[in-house]
Protein backbone atom coordinates (compact mmCIF):
# COMPACT_ATOMS: atom_id res chain seq x y z
CA UNK A 1 0.00 0.00 0.00
CA UNK A 2 1.40 3.40 -0.93
CA UNK A 3 1.69 6.03 1.80
CA UNK A 4 -0.16 9.27 1.08
CA UNK A 5 1.51 12.39 2.39
CA UNK A 6 0.82 16.10 2.42
CA UNK A 7 3.92 18.22 1.99
CA UNK A 8 3.29 21.84 2.95
CA UNK A 9 5.74 24.35 1.50
CA UNK A 10 5.37 27.51 3.54
CA UNK A 11 3.81 29.72 4.84
CA UNK A 12 7.40 30.91 5.36
CA UNK A 13 9.92 29.14 3.20
CA UNK A 14 13.07 30.07 1.27
CA UNK A 15 11.24 29.09 -1.94
CA UNK A 16 8.93 32.05 -1.56
CA UNK A 17 9.45 35.74 -1.08
CA UNK A 18 6.01 36.17 0.35
CA UNK A 19 4.21 34.00 2.86
CA UNK A 20 2.16 31.46 0.99
CA UNK A 21 1.29 27.87 1.75
CA UNK A 22 1.39 25.17 -0.87
CA UNK A 23 0.08 21.78 0.15
CA UNK A 24 1.42 19.05 -2.09
CA UNK A 25 -0.68 15.90 -1.91
CA UNK A 26 1.68 13.06 -2.74
CA UNK A 27 1.49 9.36 -3.33
CA UNK A 28 4.95 7.95 -3.00
CA UNK A 29 7.19 10.43 -4.81
CA UNK A 30 4.53 11.71 -7.17
CA UNK A 31 2.55 14.92 -6.59
CA UNK A 32 -1.14 14.09 -7.08
CA UNK A 33 -2.72 17.43 -6.25
CA UNK A 34 -1.78 20.88 -5.02
CA UNK A 35 -3.63 23.44 -2.92
CA UNK A 36 -2.69 27.06 -2.30
CA UNK A 37 -3.37 29.34 0.65
CA UNK A 38 -2.42 32.97 0.95
CA UNK A 39 -3.47 36.11 2.79
CA UNK A 40 -0.81 35.88 5.48
CA UNK A 41 0.45 39.23 4.38
CA UNK A 42 -2.74 40.95 3.21
CA UNK A 43 -1.96 44.62 3.78
CA UNK A 44 -5.04 46.19 2.24
CA UNK A 45 -2.96 48.38 -0.07
CA UNK A 46 -5.85 48.92 -2.50
CA UNK A 47 -7.99 50.19 0.38
CA UNK A 48 -5.20 52.34 1.84
CA UNK A 49 -4.82 54.11 -1.51
CA UNK A 50 -8.39 55.38 -1.30
CA UNK A 51 -7.26 57.57 1.59
CA UNK A 52 -4.10 58.84 -0.13
CA UNK A 53 -3.69 61.61 -2.68
CA UNK A 54 -2.77 60.64 -6.24
CA UNK A 55 0.85 61.68 -5.60
CA UNK A 56 1.11 59.74 -2.33
CA UNK A 57 -0.13 56.55 -3.99
CA UNK A 58 3.27 56.21 -5.72
CA UNK A 59 5.00 55.59 -2.39
CA UNK A 60 2.45 52.97 -1.37
CA UNK A 61 2.43 51.00 -4.63
CA UNK A 62 6.22 51.05 -4.69
CA UNK A 63 6.00 48.85 -1.62
CA UNK A 64 3.67 46.24 -3.15
CA UNK A 65 6.74 44.26 -4.18
CA UNK A 66 10.22 44.57 -2.74
CA UNK A 67 11.96 43.21 -5.82
CA UNK A 68 10.14 44.79 -8.71
CA UNK A 69 9.40 47.99 -6.86
CA UNK A 70 9.33 50.17 -9.97
CA UNK A 71 6.81 48.11 -11.96
CA UNK A 72 3.83 49.23 -9.89
CA UNK A 73 4.65 52.97 -9.99
CA UNK A 74 5.26 52.47 -13.74
CA UNK A 75 1.80 50.98 -14.36
CA UNK A 76 0.15 53.51 -12.05
CA UNK A 77 1.90 56.43 -13.79
CA UNK A 78 0.82 55.09 -17.19
CA UNK A 79 -2.79 54.94 -15.96
CA UNK A 80 -2.81 58.41 -14.42
CA UNK A 81 -1.10 60.09 -17.37
CA UNK A 82 -3.66 58.58 -19.74
CA UNK A 83 -6.45 59.88 -17.52
CA UNK A 84 -4.90 63.36 -17.27
CA UNK A 85 -3.98 63.28 -21.00
CA UNK A 86 -0.44 64.24 -20.02
CA UNK A 87 2.59 63.76 -22.25
CA UNK A 88 5.89 63.30 -20.43
CA UNK A 89 9.24 64.70 -21.70
CA UNK A 90 11.38 62.33 -23.80
CA UNK A 91 14.20 62.48 -21.29
CA UNK A 92 11.84 61.23 -18.56
CA UNK A 93 10.73 58.40 -20.89
CA UNK A 94 14.34 57.24 -21.27
CA UNK A 95 15.02 57.48 -17.53
CA UNK A 96 11.88 55.48 -16.74
CA UNK A 97 12.91 52.82 -19.26
CA UNK A 98 16.43 52.62 -17.81
CA UNK A 99 15.04 52.11 -14.29
CA UNK A 100 12.57 49.49 -15.56
CA UNK A 101 15.28 47.52 -17.35
CA UNK A 102 17.81 47.74 -14.51
CA UNK A 103 15.08 46.25 -12.35
CA UNK A 104 14.58 43.40 -14.82
CA UNK A 105 18.34 42.76 -14.75
CA UNK A 106 18.57 42.51 -10.98
CA UNK A 107 15.36 40.50 -10.66
CA UNK A 108 16.37 37.94 -13.30
CA UNK A 109 19.88 37.62 -11.81
CA UNK A 110 18.33 37.02 -8.40
CA UNK A 111 16.12 34.30 -9.90
CA UNK A 112 19.00 32.59 -11.71
CA UNK A 113 20.88 32.45 -8.41
CA UNK A 114 17.96 30.95 -6.52
CA UNK A 115 17.21 28.43 -9.27
CA UNK A 116 20.88 27.37 -9.15
CA UNK A 117 20.65 26.94 -5.38
CA UNK A 118 17.56 24.72 -5.57
CA UNK A 119 19.27 22.51 -8.13
CA UNK A 120 22.39 22.19 -5.98
CA UNK A 121 24.56 24.61 -7.97
CA UNK A 122 25.64 26.99 -5.26
CA UNK A 123 28.39 28.46 -7.42
CA UNK A 124 25.74 29.75 -9.84
CA UNK A 125 23.90 31.18 -6.82
CA UNK A 126 26.99 33.02 -5.58
CA UNK A 127 27.99 34.29 -9.04
CA UNK A 128 24.51 35.55 -9.89
CA UNK A 129 24.07 37.39 -6.61
CA UNK A 130 27.57 38.82 -6.77
CA UNK A 131 27.00 40.22 -10.27
CA UNK A 132 23.58 41.51 -9.21
CA UNK A 133 25.45 43.88 -6.91
CA UNK A 134 26.77 45.72 -9.97
CA UNK A 135 23.16 46.52 -10.92
CA UNK A 136 22.21 47.52 -7.37
CA UNK A 137 25.22 49.84 -7.22
CA UNK A 138 24.01 51.46 -10.45
CA UNK A 139 20.59 51.94 -8.85
CA UNK A 140 22.15 53.58 -5.82
CA UNK A 141 24.12 55.89 -8.06
CA UNK A 142 21.16 56.90 -10.24
CA UNK A 143 18.33 57.03 -7.72
CA UNK A 144 20.04 57.16 -4.30
CA UNK A 145 18.52 53.80 -3.28
CA UNK A 146 19.30 50.15 -3.89
CA UNK A 147 15.57 49.43 -3.82
CA UNK A 148 12.33 51.48 -3.66
CA UNK A 149 13.74 54.17 -5.92
CA UNK A 150 11.03 56.86 -5.58
CA UNK A 151 11.77 58.04 -9.12
CA UNK A 152 8.27 58.27 -10.58
CA UNK A 153 5.83 61.12 -10.51
CA UNK A 154 2.74 61.93 -12.58
CA UNK A 155 4.19 63.81 -15.56
CA UNK A 156 7.77 62.54 -15.39
CA UNK A 157 10.52 61.55 -12.97
CA UNK A 158 11.98 63.11 -9.84
CA UNK A 159 15.70 62.89 -10.61
CA UNK A 160 17.74 63.38 -13.75
CA UNK A 161 20.73 61.32 -14.84
CA UNK A 162 23.41 63.98 -15.57
CA UNK A 163 25.03 63.68 -19.00
CA UNK A 164 28.44 63.75 -17.31
CA UNK A 165 27.69 60.37 -15.68
CA UNK A 166 26.44 58.56 -18.76
CA UNK A 167 29.82 57.38 -20.09
CA UNK A 168 30.71 55.98 -16.69
CA UNK A 169 27.37 54.17 -16.30
CA UNK A 170 27.87 52.66 -19.78
CA UNK A 171 31.32 51.37 -18.84
CA UNK A 172 29.91 49.73 -15.67
CA UNK A 173 27.22 48.13 -17.82
CA UNK A 174 29.92 46.82 -20.16
CA UNK A 175 31.52 44.95 -17.26
CA UNK A 176 28.22 43.13 -16.71
CA UNK A 177 28.05 41.60 -20.20
CA UNK A 178 30.89 39.05 -19.75
CA UNK A 179 29.38 38.04 -16.39
CA UNK A 180 26.04 37.35 -18.07
CA UNK A 181 27.91 35.31 -20.72
CA UNK A 182 29.47 33.29 -17.92
CA UNK A 183 26.12 32.59 -16.27
CA UNK A 184 24.37 31.80 -19.53
CA UNK A 185 27.15 29.36 -20.43
CA UNK A 186 26.98 27.73 -16.99
CA UNK A 187 23.25 27.11 -17.32
CA UNK A 188 22.77 26.45 -21.05
CA UNK A 189 25.72 24.10 -21.53
CA UNK A 190 25.44 21.97 -18.41
CA UNK A 191 24.12 18.46 -19.13
CA UNK A 192 22.92 17.94 -15.54
CA UNK A 193 20.88 21.17 -15.59
CA UNK A 194 19.39 20.02 -18.91
CA UNK A 195 18.49 16.66 -17.32
CA UNK A 196 16.94 18.33 -14.25
CA UNK A 197 14.90 21.01 -16.04
CA UNK A 198 13.99 19.79 -19.54
CA UNK A 199 10.54 18.20 -19.90
CA UNK A 200 9.89 19.15 -16.24
CA UNK A 201 6.93 21.32 -15.17
CA UNK A 202 5.37 21.51 -18.64
CA UNK A 203 2.84 24.28 -19.31
CA UNK A 204 1.16 24.06 -22.70
CA UNK A 205 -0.06 27.09 -24.67
CA UNK A 206 -3.63 26.16 -23.72
CA UNK A 207 -2.69 26.14 -20.01
CA UNK A 208 -1.14 29.60 -20.31
CA UNK A 209 -4.25 31.01 -22.01
CA UNK A 210 -6.61 29.29 -19.57
CA UNK A 211 -4.81 30.60 -16.49
CA UNK A 212 -4.05 34.00 -18.07
CA UNK A 213 -0.34 33.57 -17.25
CA UNK A 214 2.00 36.38 -18.27
CA UNK A 215 5.67 37.35 -18.61
CA UNK A 216 8.50 34.82 -18.97
CA UNK A 217 6.09 32.07 -17.84
CA UNK A 218 3.96 32.67 -20.95
CA UNK A 219 6.88 33.45 -23.27
CA UNK A 220 8.58 30.17 -22.32
CA UNK A 221 5.50 28.39 -23.71
CA UNK A 222 5.77 30.15 -27.06
CA UNK A 223 3.21 32.90 -26.37
CA UNK A 224 4.85 36.17 -27.39
CA UNK A 225 3.03 38.57 -25.08
CA UNK A 226 4.95 41.51 -23.70
CA UNK A 227 3.28 44.80 -22.74
CA UNK A 228 6.40 46.71 -23.82
CA UNK A 229 5.71 45.61 -27.43
CA UNK A 230 1.93 45.04 -27.41
CA UNK A 231 0.88 48.30 -25.73
CA UNK A 232 4.07 50.40 -25.93
CA UNK A 233 4.85 52.93 -23.22
CA UNK A 234 7.82 55.06 -22.07
CA UNK A 235 10.79 54.77 -24.48
CA UNK A 236 10.26 51.15 -25.55
CA UNK A 237 8.97 52.10 -29.02
CA UNK A 238 11.99 54.39 -29.47
CA UNK A 239 14.68 51.69 -29.11
CA UNK A 240 15.42 48.40 -30.87
CA UNK A 241 14.84 45.18 -28.99
CA UNK A 242 13.05 41.89 -29.45
CA UNK A 243 10.65 39.77 -27.41
CA UNK A 244 12.38 36.56 -26.28
CA UNK A 245 10.29 33.40 -26.55
CA UNK A 246 10.91 29.67 -26.34
CA UNK A 247 8.82 26.71 -27.42
CA UNK A 248 10.16 24.45 -24.65
CA UNK A 249 7.22 24.95 -22.24
CA UNK A 250 9.36 23.51 -19.40
CA UNK A 251 11.54 24.86 -16.56
CA UNK A 252 14.58 25.05 -18.84
CA UNK A 253 12.68 27.25 -21.30
CA UNK A 254 11.81 29.67 -18.49
CA UNK A 255 15.49 29.90 -17.51
CA UNK A 256 16.47 30.37 -21.16
CA UNK A 257 13.96 33.21 -21.67
CA UNK A 258 15.14 35.04 -18.54
CA UNK A 259 18.83 34.66 -19.39
CA UNK A 260 18.37 35.94 -22.95
CA UNK A 261 16.25 38.82 -21.67
CA UNK A 262 19.28 39.98 -19.69
CA UNK A 263 21.05 40.79 -22.99
CA UNK A 264 18.00 42.65 -24.30
CA UNK A 265 17.80 44.72 -21.11
CA UNK A 266 21.48 45.68 -21.31
CA UNK A 267 21.00 46.68 -24.94
CA UNK A 268 17.88 48.76 -24.15
CA UNK A 269 19.66 50.63 -21.33
CA UNK A 270 22.66 51.24 -23.59
CA UNK A 271 20.49 52.73 -26.36
CA UNK A 272 18.52 54.90 -23.90
CA UNK A 273 21.73 56.32 -22.43
CA UNK A 274 23.02 57.13 -25.92
CA UNK A 275 19.81 58.87 -26.96
CA UNK A 276 19.57 60.84 -23.72
CA UNK A 277 22.82 62.67 -24.39
CA UNK A 278 21.11 64.58 -27.25
CA UNK A 279 18.32 65.85 -25.00
CA UNK A 280 18.27 68.90 -22.74
CA UNK A 281 19.41 68.15 -19.20
CA UNK A 282 16.82 68.76 -16.49
CA UNK A 283 13.79 68.48 -18.79
CA UNK A 284 12.24 65.60 -16.85
CA UNK A 285 8.82 66.76 -15.68
CA UNK A 286 5.62 68.20 -17.15
CA UNK A 287 3.68 69.05 -13.99
CA UNK A 288 0.09 67.77 -13.86
CA UNK A 289 -2.22 69.89 -11.72
CA UNK A 290 -5.58 68.15 -12.02
CA UNK A 291 -6.79 64.59 -12.34
CA UNK A 292 -10.19 64.60 -14.03
CA UNK A 293 -13.10 62.28 -13.30
CA UNK A 294 -13.02 58.94 -15.07
CA UNK A 295 -11.51 55.49 -15.23
CA UNK A 296 -7.93 54.67 -16.13
CA UNK A 297 -6.21 51.43 -17.02
CA UNK A 298 -2.43 51.26 -16.84
CA UNK A 299 0.00 48.43 -17.29
CA UNK A 300 3.71 47.78 -17.39
CA UNK A 301 5.89 44.74 -18.04
CA UNK A 302 7.48 43.77 -14.72
CA UNK A 303 10.26 41.13 -14.64
CA UNK A 304 7.57 38.53 -13.85
CA UNK A 305 5.03 39.78 -16.40
CA UNK A 306 2.24 42.28 -16.83
CA UNK A 307 1.34 44.52 -13.88
CA UNK A 308 -2.17 45.92 -14.24
CA UNK A 309 -3.61 48.94 -12.42
CA UNK A 310 -7.19 50.18 -12.59
CA UNK A 311 -7.95 53.58 -11.08
CA UNK A 312 -11.32 55.28 -10.76
CA UNK A 313 -11.32 58.99 -10.07
CA UNK A 314 -14.28 61.20 -9.12
CA UNK A 315 -12.41 64.43 -9.76
CA UNK A 316 -11.17 64.78 -6.17
CA UNK A 317 -7.51 64.32 -5.22
CA UNK A 318 -7.79 60.64 -4.18
CA UNK A 319 -8.75 57.50 -6.08
CA UNK A 320 -12.26 56.15 -5.46
CA UNK A 321 -11.05 52.65 -6.31
CA UNK A 322 -7.60 51.34 -7.11
CA UNK A 323 -7.27 47.74 -8.27
CA UNK A 324 -3.82 46.17 -8.59
CA UNK A 325 -3.08 42.87 -10.32
CA UNK A 326 0.48 41.63 -9.87
CA UNK A 327 1.80 39.01 -12.32
CA UNK A 328 2.34 36.32 -9.68
CA UNK A 329 -1.41 36.31 -8.99
CA UNK A 330 -2.05 34.64 -12.35
CA UNK A 331 1.28 32.82 -12.68
CA UNK A 332 1.04 30.96 -9.37
CA UNK A 333 -2.31 29.45 -10.38
CA UNK A 334 -0.50 27.45 -13.09
CA UNK A 335 1.09 25.23 -10.42
CA UNK A 336 -2.07 23.13 -10.58
CA UNK A 337 -0.97 22.12 -14.09
CA UNK A 338 2.82 22.18 -13.84
CA UNK A 339 3.29 20.32 -10.51
CA UNK A 340 0.74 17.52 -10.69
CA UNK A 341 2.28 14.28 -11.94
CA UNK A 342 5.84 15.40 -11.17
CA UNK A 343 8.14 14.08 -8.42
CA UNK A 344 8.70 15.82 -5.06
CA UNK A 345 12.37 16.32 -5.97
CA UNK A 346 11.29 18.42 -8.96
CA UNK A 347 8.57 20.33 -7.08
CA UNK A 348 10.96 22.92 -5.64
CA UNK A 349 12.36 23.96 -9.01
CA UNK A 350 8.92 23.91 -10.68
CA UNK A 351 7.50 26.22 -8.01
CA UNK A 352 10.55 28.45 -8.35
CA UNK A 353 10.32 28.46 -12.17
CA UNK A 354 7.53 31.04 -12.38
CA UNK A 355 9.54 33.24 -9.99
CA UNK A 356 6.81 33.73 -7.40
CA UNK A 357 7.62 36.68 -5.18
CA UNK A 358 9.98 35.39 -2.49
CA UNK A 359 10.08 36.07 1.25
CA UNK A 360 13.31 36.41 3.19
CA UNK A 361 11.86 34.64 6.20
CA UNK A 362 12.32 30.94 6.68
CA UNK A 363 10.14 29.38 9.33
CA UNK A 364 8.73 25.97 8.65
CA UNK A 365 7.79 23.33 6.15
CA UNK A 366 7.08 19.85 7.44
CA UNK A 367 5.92 16.70 5.73
CA UNK A 368 3.44 14.66 7.72
CA UNK A 369 2.44 11.08 7.18
CA UNK A 370 -1.10 11.38 5.82
CA UNK A 371 -2.41 8.55 8.05
CA UNK A 372 -0.46 8.78 11.32
CA UNK A 373 0.29 12.51 11.38
CA UNK A 374 3.94 11.69 12.10
CA UNK A 375 6.48 14.29 10.99
CA UNK A 376 8.65 13.03 8.14
CA UNK A 377 10.65 15.86 6.64
CA UNK A 378 11.00 19.64 6.72
CA UNK A 379 11.74 22.32 4.11
CA UNK A 380 15.48 21.81 4.21
CA UNK A 381 14.94 18.10 3.57
CA UNK A 382 12.94 19.04 0.49
CA UNK A 383 15.86 21.05 -0.92
CA UNK A 384 18.17 18.19 0.13
CA UNK A 385 16.11 15.76 -1.99
CA UNK A 386 16.48 18.12 -4.95
CA UNK A 387 20.27 18.34 -4.42
CA UNK A 388 20.43 14.55 -4.06
CA UNK A 389 18.73 14.08 -7.44
CA UNK A 390 21.23 16.45 -9.09
CA UNK A 391 24.16 14.59 -7.50
CA UNK A 392 22.83 11.23 -8.66
CA UNK A 393 22.58 12.59 -12.22
CA UNK A 394 26.13 13.97 -11.97
CA UNK A 395 27.41 10.55 -10.92
CA UNK A 396 25.70 8.89 -13.89
CA UNK A 397 27.11 11.37 -16.45
Amino acid sequence: MSTKTIIPIGPYHPLQEEPELFKLYCEGEIVKDIEWETGYNHRGIEKINESKTFDQVFFVVERVCGICSTSHPFAYANAMEELAKAEIPDRAKYIRTIIGELERLHSHLLWVGLAGHFLGYNTVFMWAWKYREIVLDLFERITGNRNNYAMFKIGGVRRDIPNSQIADIKSVLDTLKPKVDLLTGAVMDDPVIHARTKKVGILSKEDIINYGAVGPTARASGIAIDVRKDDPYAAYPLVNWKVITSEGCDVFAKAEVRLLELYESISIIDQCLDKMTHLKEGDILNPVKNIPEGMAFGRAEAPRGEVFHFVKSDGSNSPVRHKIRAPSYVNIATFKKSCVGQTIADATIILAAVDPCYCCTERMAFAYDYCTGKKIMNGLDLIRISHQKTNELKMKM
Partner: protein, 156 residues
Protein backbone atom coordinates in the same frame (compact mmCIF):
# COMPACT_ATOMS: atom_id res chain seq x y z
CA UNK B 1 -9.84 34.37 -34.82
CA UNK B 2 -11.60 37.35 -36.35
CA UNK B 3 -9.59 40.45 -37.25
CA UNK B 4 -10.76 43.41 -35.19
CA UNK B 5 -11.52 46.83 -36.54
CA UNK B 6 -11.90 49.07 -33.51
CA UNK B 7 -13.68 51.80 -35.46
CA UNK B 8 -16.64 49.53 -35.94
CA UNK B 9 -16.33 47.36 -32.79
CA UNK B 10 -19.09 49.30 -30.94
CA UNK B 11 -21.41 48.73 -33.90
CA UNK B 12 -20.50 45.03 -34.08
CA UNK B 13 -21.18 44.59 -30.38
CA UNK B 14 -24.54 46.33 -30.65
CA UNK B 15 -25.40 44.24 -33.70
CA UNK B 16 -24.48 40.95 -32.00
CA UNK B 17 -25.81 41.62 -28.55
CA UNK B 18 -28.42 44.31 -29.14
CA UNK B 19 -30.10 45.29 -25.86
CA UNK B 20 -27.54 43.42 -23.75
CA UNK B 21 -25.15 46.31 -24.39
CA UNK B 22 -26.31 49.35 -22.45
CA UNK B 23 -23.65 51.80 -23.60
CA UNK B 24 -20.04 51.95 -24.71
CA UNK B 25 -17.66 54.60 -23.37
CA UNK B 26 -14.26 55.24 -24.93
CA UNK B 27 -12.28 56.25 -21.84
CA UNK B 28 -8.96 56.77 -23.56
CA UNK B 29 -7.45 55.69 -26.86
CA UNK B 30 -7.36 51.86 -26.72
CA UNK B 31 -9.45 51.74 -23.52
CA UNK B 32 -13.15 50.90 -23.87
CA UNK B 33 -15.73 50.38 -21.15
CA UNK B 34 -18.76 48.37 -22.24
CA UNK B 35 -21.76 48.57 -19.89
CA UNK B 36 -23.65 45.28 -20.17
CA UNK B 37 -26.68 43.57 -18.63
CA UNK B 38 -25.39 41.17 -16.01
CA UNK B 39 -27.51 38.30 -17.41
CA UNK B 40 -25.55 38.41 -20.66
CA UNK B 41 -22.07 38.31 -19.08
CA UNK B 42 -21.25 34.70 -19.99
CA UNK B 43 -22.29 35.12 -23.62
CA UNK B 44 -20.37 38.37 -24.15
CA UNK B 45 -17.27 37.18 -22.22
CA UNK B 46 -17.28 34.01 -24.30
CA UNK B 47 -17.38 36.13 -27.47
CA UNK B 48 -14.27 38.05 -26.39
CA UNK B 49 -12.36 34.98 -25.19
CA UNK B 50 -13.27 32.50 -27.94
CA UNK B 51 -14.10 34.54 -31.03
CA UNK B 52 -11.66 37.40 -30.57
CA UNK B 53 -8.99 35.46 -28.56
CA UNK B 54 -8.69 38.12 -25.87
CA UNK B 55 -6.79 37.45 -22.65
CA UNK B 56 -8.61 37.70 -19.33
CA UNK B 57 -6.56 40.13 -17.21
CA UNK B 58 -8.53 40.34 -13.95
CA UNK B 59 -11.85 41.51 -12.51
CA UNK B 60 -12.47 44.43 -10.15
CA UNK B 61 -15.24 44.60 -7.60
CA UNK B 62 -16.34 47.98 -6.28
CA UNK B 63 -19.09 49.78 -4.46
CA UNK B 64 -21.21 52.10 -6.62
CA UNK B 65 -24.01 54.61 -5.98
CA UNK B 66 -26.74 52.01 -6.46
CA UNK B 67 -25.03 48.86 -5.24
CA UNK B 68 -21.98 47.16 -6.65
CA UNK B 69 -20.09 47.04 -9.91
CA UNK B 70 -17.93 44.23 -11.22
CA UNK B 71 -15.61 45.12 -14.09
CA UNK B 72 -14.04 42.36 -16.17
CA UNK B 73 -10.83 43.48 -17.87
CA UNK B 74 -9.79 41.83 -21.15
CA UNK B 75 -6.67 42.46 -23.18
CA UNK B 76 -6.23 42.38 -26.94
CA UNK B 77 -2.49 41.69 -26.90
CA UNK B 78 -2.11 42.04 -30.66
CA UNK B 79 -3.39 45.61 -30.73
CA UNK B 80 -2.76 46.80 -27.18
CA UNK B 81 -6.43 47.41 -26.37
CA UNK B 82 -8.09 46.89 -22.99
CA UNK B 83 -11.81 46.14 -23.16
CA UNK B 84 -13.73 46.32 -19.90
CA UNK B 85 -17.13 44.74 -19.37
CA UNK B 86 -18.92 46.61 -16.60
CA UNK B 87 -21.86 44.97 -14.84
CA UNK B 88 -24.06 46.66 -12.27
CA UNK B 89 -25.49 44.67 -9.34
CA UNK B 90 -28.30 45.70 -7.00
CA UNK B 91 -27.44 46.19 -3.35
CA UNK B 92 -30.26 43.88 -2.24
CA UNK B 93 -29.13 40.95 -4.41
CA UNK B 94 -25.46 41.18 -5.40
CA UNK B 95 -25.27 38.09 -7.60
CA UNK B 96 -23.73 37.35 -10.95
CA UNK B 97 -22.87 34.26 -12.98
CA UNK B 98 -19.31 32.99 -12.43
CA UNK B 99 -16.76 33.08 -15.25
CA UNK B 100 -14.62 30.42 -13.53
CA UNK B 101 -16.20 27.60 -15.54
CA UNK B 102 -15.34 29.44 -18.74
CA UNK B 103 -11.75 30.31 -17.84
CA UNK B 104 -9.65 29.22 -14.83
CA UNK B 105 -8.04 32.66 -14.57
CA UNK B 106 -11.31 34.00 -13.10
CA UNK B 107 -11.40 31.45 -10.27
CA UNK B 108 -9.27 33.18 -7.62
CA UNK B 109 -10.36 36.76 -8.28
CA UNK B 110 -14.04 35.82 -7.95
CA UNK B 111 -13.28 34.21 -4.59
CA UNK B 112 -11.43 37.38 -3.54
CA UNK B 113 -14.26 39.71 -4.63
CA UNK B 114 -16.75 37.47 -2.83
CA UNK B 115 -14.94 37.57 0.47
CA UNK B 116 -14.28 41.32 0.36
CA UNK B 117 -17.65 42.56 -0.96
CA UNK B 118 -20.03 39.64 -0.39
CA UNK B 119 -20.87 39.43 -4.10
CA UNK B 120 -22.09 35.92 -4.93
CA UNK B 121 -20.76 34.26 -8.06
CA UNK B 122 -23.36 31.75 -9.16
CA UNK B 123 -22.04 28.28 -10.15
CA UNK B 124 -18.50 29.04 -8.97
CA UNK B 125 -16.78 25.66 -8.38
CA UNK B 126 -15.33 26.63 -4.99
CA UNK B 127 -16.49 29.98 -3.61
CA UNK B 128 -14.42 29.77 -0.41
CA UNK B 129 -12.17 32.37 1.20
CA UNK B 130 -8.92 33.06 -0.61
CA UNK B 131 -6.97 35.75 1.19
CA UNK B 132 -8.45 36.09 4.66
CA UNK B 133 -9.03 32.60 6.01
CA UNK B 134 -9.66 32.99 9.74
CA UNK B 135 -9.43 36.80 9.70
CA UNK B 136 -13.10 37.70 9.21
CA UNK B 137 -16.28 35.86 10.10
CA UNK B 138 -18.09 33.85 7.41
CA UNK B 139 -20.87 36.39 6.86
CA UNK B 140 -18.67 39.44 7.40
CA UNK B 141 -17.56 41.18 4.21
CA UNK B 142 -15.12 43.97 5.11
CA UNK B 143 -15.55 46.18 2.04
CA UNK B 144 -19.27 45.57 1.59
CA UNK B 145 -21.57 48.54 1.22
CA UNK B 146 -22.63 49.96 4.57
CA UNK B 147 -25.07 52.86 4.65
CA UNK B 148 -24.15 55.76 6.92
CA UNK B 149 -21.06 54.00 8.15
CA UNK B 150 -17.98 56.14 7.77
CA UNK B 151 -15.66 53.87 9.68
CA UNK B 152 -13.17 51.93 7.71
CA UNK B 153 -14.64 48.43 7.94
CA UNK B 154 -11.34 46.60 7.60
CA UNK B 155 -9.93 48.53 10.53
CA UNK B 156 -7.03 49.83 8.45
Amino acid sequence: MTAINYDILPDILKLNFNSDIRRIVIQQRKRLVVYIRKESLLEIANYFLDELAYRFIIATGMVSDKGYEVIYHFSDDKNGYIINLLTELEESKPEIESLANLIDAANWIEREIHELYGIKFINHPNLTKLISDGLWKDNEFPYARKKGDNQNPAGL
